[in-house]
């Protein structure tokens, strides 16, 4: 279902809702296009006229700084007009339904909705109801998906490692609550990474995670052996209900990435984190700021990846 909604009759991207269901060629085309935009972002004039006259509405029903900002920068570098909606202060709090909000914005001639919502599936609902010339990009829905983060992770891995076909990738920490992990796992398996591992305490690994084609490890030291790429996840305290963890200190002791644990991975391993980081909870400062860390390049690549997605979608 997801795949039909995301692609038009010619197999081109129409909405970006989830990496799941996107064919390999579409993923590669997004990454290739992003590489061209990286060139643009390194110039003195960091703007191209592709989306001139188009209106991009940032609808963030859940707080976000980095993702909202990078979407805004990406849209502006494509010459689009960007409207940021402060949802907490908007009609939603007066009881307007999601579909009514979007219908009103549509009446204001919106072209592209970038949407983050705490409910899984909310962007799918919108994508079902928008007009043919309107497009939806999922900027994170509940625990379900965060496709542009997954794509920028894939871009970063490809940038440093070139090929996916011989990589061992470990995703560590709070996999249960992580839409980033889900998106990345789908992307890595579609692009042919032979070994994807998830590492975390049993309470933070989704049941049946192996069905996604990954190996799970409860022991971090065991799981990190021979890894080329380590993706640390943020401990999502705001999504935790009930006692899944004894304490943050306890978590750091077992699942925090320290220089000593990092030494178990391959010597040229890269360390990624989608941000925002909890230093001393999932990652040690010496690793976050160390030579293996590519956390800040991830942010920069994120702009080019979002430019690629928006320009490919707006054309379809």
């Amino acid at each position: 279902m997801a795949s039909n909604l995301q692609l038009n009759a010619n197999g081109e991207l129409r909405h970006l809702l989830s990496i799941e269901g996107l064919p390999r060629e579409v993923l590669l085309r997004i990454l290739d296009t992003a590489a061209s935009f990286v060139g643009v972002t390194e110039r003195e004039v960091k703007k191209v006229p592709l989306l001139r006259g188009k209106s991009v509405f940032n609808l963030f029903f859940e707080p976000s700084t980095r993702t909202r900002t990078t979407f805004e920068i990406a849209a502006k570098r494509l010459s689009a007009d960007v409207i940021n909606l402060n949802i907490a202060a908007s009609s939603q709090t007066k009881g307007e339904s999601l579909l009514d909000t979007v219908a009103n914005l549509s009446a204001m001639q919106a072209d592209l909705f970038v949407m983050r919502h705490a409910s899984s599936g909310a962007p799918f609902l919108i994508a079902h109801h928008v007009k043919p010339h309107e497009h939806v990009i999922n900027a994170g829905d509940g625990r379900h998906a965060h496709p542009t983060q997954g794509l920028l992770d894939l871009y970063t891995i490809r940038h440093y490692k070139k090929e996916f076909s011989n990589l061992t990738v470990a995703i560590v920490g709070d996999v249960l609550h992580s839409r980033v992990a889900r998106s990345l796992i789908h992307g890595l398996t579609t692009l042919g990474a032979p070994e994807v591992r998830v590492i975390g305490p049993r309470t933070l690994l989704p049941t049946g995670v192996e069905s996604l084609g990954v190996r799970s490890f409860l022991d971090m030291r065991e799981g990190l052996k021979g890894c080329d790429v380590i993706v640390m996840l943020r401990l999502q305290s705001e999504r935790m209900r009930g006692a899944l963890l004894p304490s943050a200190q306890e978590f750091f002791k077992h699942y925090g990435l320290t220089p000593e644990k990092l030494a178990l991975a391959r010597p040229d391993a890269i360390v990624m984190h989608p941000g925002p980081m909890n230093r001393g909870v999932e990652i040690d400062s010496n690793v976050a700021d160390g030579p293996h860390s590519v956390i800040l390049p991830q942010v920069t690549f994120g702009i080019a990846v979002r430019m690629a997605v928006m320009s490919m979608i707006a054309e379809s």
Partner: protein, 166 residues
Amino acid sequence: MIILPEAETLYARLAAELVSWVKPTSALIGIHTGGAWLAERLHAALGIGTELGTLDAAFYRDDYRQQGLAKEPKRSQVPFPVEGRDLLLVDDVLHTGRTVRAAMNELFDYGRPASISLAVLADRGGRELPICAQYCATRIELPAGKRLRLTRDAAGRLAFELEDGE
């Protein structure tokens, strides 16, 4: 039956014509993909000191709304400051002039060149914009709906090919 010109002969003619153009401030920019192949050869043949630049003006095209992005947009690389340079844009075929327009727009986002000239292997007419090539190895009449495309084989030899479609 349309007889296509010999691309290698045209290349030699263009290279000879360009010898007098070269100055210390000269720099070459090839337009992907055919123009970039030509520019690569010209760059070596003319002994240009500045590194070679390449452009894919896909992000500046005026037909984006109708056609979308090119299937594989190449990365533009202009590895020198364009400010004050005499630039030579190189493309394989000059037709409507829209690609050149897009390329010039892109170049100005890198800076303000002293001048831009255009060199092409073949001018097939059909201009839709006030653009002309200062250096052009041949003119050719082609029926509308045909696309003249430069190809390069494994040995690096250039040849023209006629395809259906604009």
